[in-house]
Subunit: 334 residues, 2 copies
DNA sequence: TTGTAGGCGTTATCAG
DNA sequence: CTGATAACGCCTACAA
């Protein structure tokens, strides 16, 4: 059995209180006893039970994380890696709150409370999912990834989606394109809406007209890329380039072009969004907007700790910059 | 503030013990009081503090997970999805033990104890990393993924690596190949060794000779695929097919062949291992051995719960079957 | 059927 | 500087 603080006290010949003080680096304690207690602790491999500690201190040193059920997001590993990076020196561990069940009785807030988590990161949900709202209104520090939720203690971090797509449009214009189509992501999602916004702004920036037949409402999927392409190819005045809201969509576009016997980038320039692993391996490799997923993870935890540590800091928000990665799927217009 | 059991007791006009009994579904309690207490609980949105509960019961209803620092494994999302599936109805949440630091003082066991986790899943480590051994010897239930660690309370789950590679070899033989080369993964890793073993057995099964010049010692990376290809192409008696220990290695092979002006599968058949997302999108798309990553995650938790619930079940082990996925990177030998 | 009281491992408050 | 002792929120004999 693991020794507890009483065992240590007995072995060191001091009181429980003294051991506690040594553990927590209290002042007013003689070097001699400190020394003695420390040795006993080392020898006995003692480590204070953080659960009991949490009970009395009202702190648990654990952060929570809500993921939407069955989310299989290729990015997630990188986000987690970023989170770990921020977690490392903080003393916090991360609890994956896995029992989100989609019946109306379920409460994010109660789940958090019952687990004594000091704050949560939320990823993959939509604004009106379940009673997410209750969480936002609550006193529980929360950081949302890719969802602009703001509350007393709730903020968010997301990529600069608007600017990312604007960069795409600008780049295509720079290499001569003016008939630039757009494949949206799911418009029910926050990032989907923003990327669409980015497209409109991008056109406006450059004085290009917005044409509704150059827009296909998709859902981030490869399939929607295929469908979009078929639609665009059927147009009298075909676009010469397609900006996509996701790499998977762009993959679909490339496939559909090949299927139609046309060439990318010869007959159509294509640009993605995300920079997932696949982007390097498509033929042609994909020019895309890279999201700093590691940075998103890193900052989600960093901001969360900020809320927790500064009693009344305003709910923090962070827009993480994106980067244009030029590969082979775009060509200057002849 | 969240109500506690005392608040509920007061509001319901009963004792704390009674409330506790209601919560825990004790027998001998009158329907009337039960009813009353239940209503109060609903109204007050009360949820017992699982931390305090854990302290007294000696159970925490949390499982732990150790990941190697900075692990960015494309599979991990799928494994996590599988874990979640098993976790869902269990009442357990999953604690990501993030503070693994690689100095000799760090102890997996103490980290577990201090967090009161009832068991852990370990992924991405090698046999002699840190003091993993202490964990295996301990009383803490543990399931290792892709590492054959066995202890009183420790078991593992992994793909059928040997059989997977044997399937590759057999498939190539069936379509006419006999000069079959092999790209190993990192041989310091458990799965790397097993896959190598699978290659040897595969040849033996079919009465094919083992030639050391047909083996390249790699490390699962794309780069090692490139290097292996260069070596194999320089041979007098070139192989006609390459079995790879990873999809990334196979991707490297395809690249190097293209670079050399040769064709896959025309001049060389290539077969991967893993079935990562990229496999579908290479040109040609990759014939490969699919790992059931969801199943691995699912079973890791399932087995762990088994150890926890059955006091003295033997340390469980699970070899998850693989599946040959035929795509376009292999061709019959003319 | 219900309530009382002791304890889980730790920290915090006061005396000494 | 050190040591009793009462919390923290909950569960569980045992008593009533």
């Amino acid at each position: 059995m693991a020794p507890n603080i009483r065992d240590i006290a007995r072995m060191a010949g001091v009181s429980v209180a003294t051991v506690s003080k040594v553990i927590n680096n209290y002042p007013h304690i003689s070097p001699k006893t400190k020394e003695k207690v420390m040795t006993v602790i080392k020898d006995a491999q003692f480590m204070p039970n953080s659960v009991a500690r949490g009970l009395v201190k009202g702190r648990s040193m654990t952060l929570g994380m809500f993921l939407t059920t069955g989310l299989v997001h290729p990015f997630f590993v990188h986000i987690l890696a970023g989170m770990e990076d921020s977690l490392k020196e903080s003393g916090f561990d991360l609890l994956y709150l896995s029992q989100v069940n989609w019946n109306p009785d379920y409460s994010f807030v109660r789940h958090c409370m019952s687990r004594n988590v000091e704050g949560v990161v939320v990823f993959g949900f939509q604004r009106f999912d379940l009673n997410l709202d209750e969480l936002v209104q609550s006193e529980i520090p929360a950081i949302f990834i890719d969802l602009d939720m703001l509350g007393k203690k709730a903020g968010y971090v997301t990529s600069d989606n608007v600017d990312g797509i604007r960069k795409s449009v600008r780049y295509l214009k720079e290499i001569g394109h003016t008939r630039i189509a757009f494949l949206t992501g799911g418009l029910e999602s926050y990032v989907g809406k923003l990327r669409f916004e980015g497209y409109k702004q991008g056109l406006a920036d450059l004085g290009l007209p917005y044409l509704s037949e150059y827009v296909y409402i998709g859902d981030f999927s490869r399939e929607s890329g295929i469908e979009a392409t078929q639609k665009f190819l059927s147009l009298d005045n075909r676009p010469t380039a397609i900006v996509c809201s996701s790499d998977m969509g762009a993959v679909g576009v490339i496939e559909a072009m090949k299927e139609a016997g046309l060439s990318v980038p010869g007959d159509m320039s294509v640009i993605g969004f995300d920079d997932i692993d696949i982007a390097t391996h498509t033929v042609p490799s994909l020019t895309t907007i890279r999201q700093d997923t590691f940075g998103i993870g890193q900052n989600s935890i960093r901001l969360l700790l900020e809320i927790i540590n500064n009693a009344n800091c305003p709910p923090p928000t962070m827009i993480v910059p994106t980067e244009l990665v030029v590969r082979d799927s775009c060509a200057p217009l002849a």
